[in-house]
Symmetry: C2
Subunit: 139 residues, 2 copies
């Protein structure tokens, strides 16, 4: 088990990918009018990327156009004080190819919010890191 400089367990890429499939909600981190922004989104892992569905006119669609973004998922137990987090950094891109859009529409990616969410954003998994808090060090 490898620990980082903070004493947290470093997760392998395989473990990070497994954990990315274990939760339906993640948080996309981007820049909105020169300020840091973060928004929870339903997502789906698809090959070497994360797929998010949003409205074509949404702030998220505009702000992530050809941008480098971060994406984070986590899960914590506040009683045991254990948990894990996985972060991804990669380029976001809008899916414009009709065939690819049709394929993505078949993914198990149901947004929790209302509206016409027929715009797909893909975030490539260029840099993926994960940490686990085992609880042994909690004070």
């Amino acid at each position: 088990m490898r620990l980082d400089s903070s004493g947290l367990q470093v997760l392998t890429d395989e473990e990070c990918l497994r954990l990315l499939t274990s939760t339906p909600i993640g948080r996309i981190v981007f820049t909105d009018r020169a300020l840091p922004a973060v928004q929870p989104v339903a997502f789906c892992l698809d090959g070497d990327g994360i797929v998010i569905r949003t409205g074509v006119g949404s702030k998220l669609a505009a702000a992530t156009r050809r941008a480098v973004v971060a994406f984070e998922v986590d899960d914590y137990d506040p009683v045991l004080r254990t948990g894990w987090s996985v972060s991804v950094v990669g380029h976001a891109s809008a899916i414009t190819d009709p065939a690819e859009t049709a394929r993505l529409a078949e993914l198990p990616l149901d947004p929790w919010v209302p509206g016409d969410l027929d715009h797909y954003i893909r975030v490539s998994l260029e840099h993926i890191t994960g940490r686990r808090i085992t609880g042994a060090h909690s004070i």
Copy 2:
């Protein structure tokens, strides 16, 4: 009940502040070597700011020095598909005054990670927003 352009319920500032006290873990969003970064942290609401405890030599301490950061908390029910999120944007500052550090050391702010975490960061609540998904619109 006010809805935003996505059909999500807009939370009042009072509701956002109440929700900020309801969870021990949030996610701080900052820039690390020109790339977006996000890290889960234990935190505490203190007056008009968020207080985070970290190591003086940590990446988080370095990256948030005199920076504008975002901070996010949320909670979701994956079965009912309901949930809420609260986001804060504000200036981060390192607490260097010994009297203030001593006061913050008395806060109920126990980090979940090991190490000497005697460095306090304050994020002012300059812009706070919150949304709730009621589940009525889930598909």
